[in-house]
Amino acid sequence: MNKKIRIVIAKPGLDGHDRGAKYIARALKDAGYEVIYTGIRQTPESIVATAIQEDVDFVGLSLLSGAHNELFPRVVDLLNSQNAGDIVVFGGGVIPEEDLAFLKERGIEAIFRPGAPISEVISFIESKTGSTAA
């Protein structure tokens, strides 16, 4: 057995600011994870199709446009409806603290806000998988 943790990093919606998403992708790679990077302007449908085909353990969503309350839950709902509710969804971007409770309730398991260090993301992943990447 030689299981690798696989993670989709995606930008839903129309927002083109990909500095954060690319940083996370690269940092997760350096931490030993296999990261599938989809690029910008992804619909929730294409993110979910990607996550399922790639058989990932996590989906990380990055969004700075403020459309997170609409788009993040949609990804979770689609995963659930396609029998892939076991895939863990987390998110990041310009997200007000007052939205965190709502997003959590809708199945986004963690939100990383501006300034959150990558170590927080990694400990979250480790806590969910019970192991480290390498």
């Binding site: 927002d15 600011h17 690319k22 940083y23 690269r26 302007r41 446009s65 501006p114 300034g115």
Partner: protein, 553 residues
């Protein structure tokens, strides 16, 4: 190069006076600029410094000291707050508020569907309508947006790129309906597609047809809308994406070179359009590095225009620029600290000689800015203008050993990049290769790593942190907005003359397939008949195809 005699003295000082101290009290770690440039123990006079060649006088070649002879001793820079959200109606009242507060120009933020040429009822727009700016679907929305704002009195900057021609056409017609003719309106469209491919992401078409649209705008405006700035070549977003100061101006100037080359390539005379080119830079935290950056940028552009493109008119060589404080430096933690950051950045822009300035609001790392925080941001500019005294002096830091050496260094490194990109065959090629994106990403990655390791301190984020309650009172965009826009669209589509719309769109489609047709008049015709932004963009998508991201990390 520093003076030899002084250099010897400096070495002696480093060995004796300085060395004695540092052997007991070592220097701090990480004595680098905001862009990671090492700094020296002390800066001393430069050998054979040529005042005339390097600096000259304000309003004279090479414009290092500024493009106007009076600078702010005549009048202050234009204070221009970027704003827009929700419906055209909501944005309209924010603009009126800002004008009443003493703002001197408008700056329109559009939502993402508008920026990418989709109507609000397009499925792809779901969730994004009205979020980062105002939603504009048709001329109708534009009429509402400027209702009661006299377009002969204000200058308007529009952050719009891929569909810039369409929004400009809408503006022209709104003015026309107000009784203001095309040659009276003043303003700027961003219209800088290359940096969209590099850093910002709101592109629609591939490079070739995009460049054609830009040329069409240059040509049309030089004849019909002479007071309009046809492009704002933007380093702002390149810096926000994580570039260094040098990369910011180098890639922006390389973009500028590409636009000029292209326009000349289709037969436009450089002095006919170059005077209407404007630039847009970032103001970051490292005060002195930023000031040197602006000075270097002006000097390089003047040389580019004079030496490379043989521009004759002085105006063609002047780099006029708008500045915005750095959104990426604002922190969600202890947001009040952002007011201080913005004040420092404002000083950088003003001492660097900007023509206009947007100051960010303290809550932008959290959500859209509230009216209160926008007012504080504007007040910051007003305090620097009226109280700090820096606006009374032209290029106040000229002659500083450090500033002049840093200006030279930034210039030299910028030329290295420009030459390298030229060798690759120009900016479009360099972008297609992914070279520019890779350079920026590497800088961004290095910066972020330094922050995470604590080598670079961000106050309130990785040092001096506190437990704080969640901030309240954030501005929310009405979630029903999409429905409102959809309903408005239905009304527009039912009230307009649909046969005329079809005629105009098919004329546009036909024009698009012929290289030598200027599309501006055809777009204006379509807009006048209330063809929507999405309809017009789709006609062009069909003819031009769509650009897709292809570069991976």
């Amino acid at each position: 190069m520093p003076d030899n005699k002084e250099l010897n003295k400096k070495s002696l000082w480093e060995e004796t006076t300085l060395g004695k101290v540092t052997s007991r009290f070592p220097l701090r770690d990480n004595l680098v600029t905001g862009s990671d440039v090492e700094t020296d123990n002390i800066y001393i006079p430069i050998e054979n410094f040529s005042y005339d060649k390097k600096l000259g006088f304000p309003g004279e070649y090479p414009y290092t000291r500024g493009v106007q002879p009076t600078m702010y001793r005549g009048r202050f820079w234009t204070m221009r707050q970027y704003a827009g959200f929700g419906t055209a109606e909501e944005s309209n009242s924010r603009y009126k508020y800002l004008l009443a507060q003493g703002q001197t120009g408008l700056s329109i933020a559009f939502d993402l569907p508008t920026q990418i040429g989709y109507d609000s009822d397009d499925p792809i727009s779901a969730g994004e309508v009205g979020k980062v700016g105002v939603a504009i679907d048709s001329l109708k929305d534009m009429e509402t947006l400027f209702d009661g704002i006299p377009l002969d009195k204000v200058s308007t900057s529009m952050t719009i790129n891929a569909p810039a021609a369409v929004l400009l056409a809408m503006y022209i017609i709104v003015a026309e309906k107000q009784g203001v003719s095309k040659d009276q309106i003043r303003g700027t469209i961003q219209n800088d597609i290359l940096k969209e491919y590099i850093a910002r992401g709101t592109y629609i078409f591939p490079p070739a047809p995009s460049m054609r649209l830009i040329n069409n705008i240059f040509e049309y405006c030089s004849a019909e809308v002479p007071k309009w700035n046809t492009i704002s070549i933007s380093g702002y977003h390149i810096r926000e994406a994580g570039s260094t100061a040098v990369q910011e101006i180098a890639f922006t100037i390389a973009d500028g070179i590409e636009y000029v080359k292209n326009a000349i390539g289709v037969g436009l005379d450089v002095d006919n359009f170059a005077g209407r080119l404007s630039f847009f830079f970032n103001a970051h935290n490292d005060l002195l590095e930023e000031i040197a950056k602006y000075r270097a940028a002006r000097r390089i552009w003047a040389k580019v225009m004079k030496e490379k493109f043989s521009a004759k008119k002085e105006k063609s060589m002047m780099m006029r620029f708008h500045t915005q404080t750095a959104g990426s430096t604002l922190t969600a933690q202890q947001p009040d600290n952002n007011i201080v950051r913005v004040a420092i950045q404002t000083l950088a822009a003003v001492m660097g000689g900007t023509q206009s300035l947007h100051t960010n609001s303290k809550d932008e790392a959290l959500a859209l800015p509230t009216e209160d925080s926008v007012r504080v941001a504007l007040r910051t500019q007003q305090i620097v203008a009226h109280e700090s005294g820096v606006a009374n002096i032209v290029d106040p830091l000229a002659g500083s050993y450090y500033i002049e050496q840093l200006t030279d260094k930034i210039e030299a490194e910028t030329w290295n990049y420009i030459n390298k990109i030229e060798e690759m065959g120009g900016m479009v090629k360099a972008i297609e290769k992914g070279y520019v994106q890779k350079e920026i990403q590497d800088s961004a990655y290095r910066y972020q790593k330094a922050v995470e390791k604590g080598d670079r301190v961000v106050v309130g984020v990785n040092k001096f942190t506190i437990e704080e309650p969640a901030p309240g009172g954030l501005l929310r965009v009405n979630p029903e907005l999409q429905k409102v826009q959809e309903e408005n669209l239905t009304i527009v589509r039912s009230e307009r003359d649909n046969a005329r719309v079809r005629e105009c769109l098919s004329a546009l489609s036909e024009g698009a397939s012929k290289e030598d047709i200027n599309l501006m008049p055809l777009i204006i015709d379509s807009v006048r008949e209330y063809a929507t932004l999405g309809e017009i963009s789709n006609v062009l998508r069909e003819k031009f195809g769509e650009y897709r991201e292809s570069i991976v990390l």
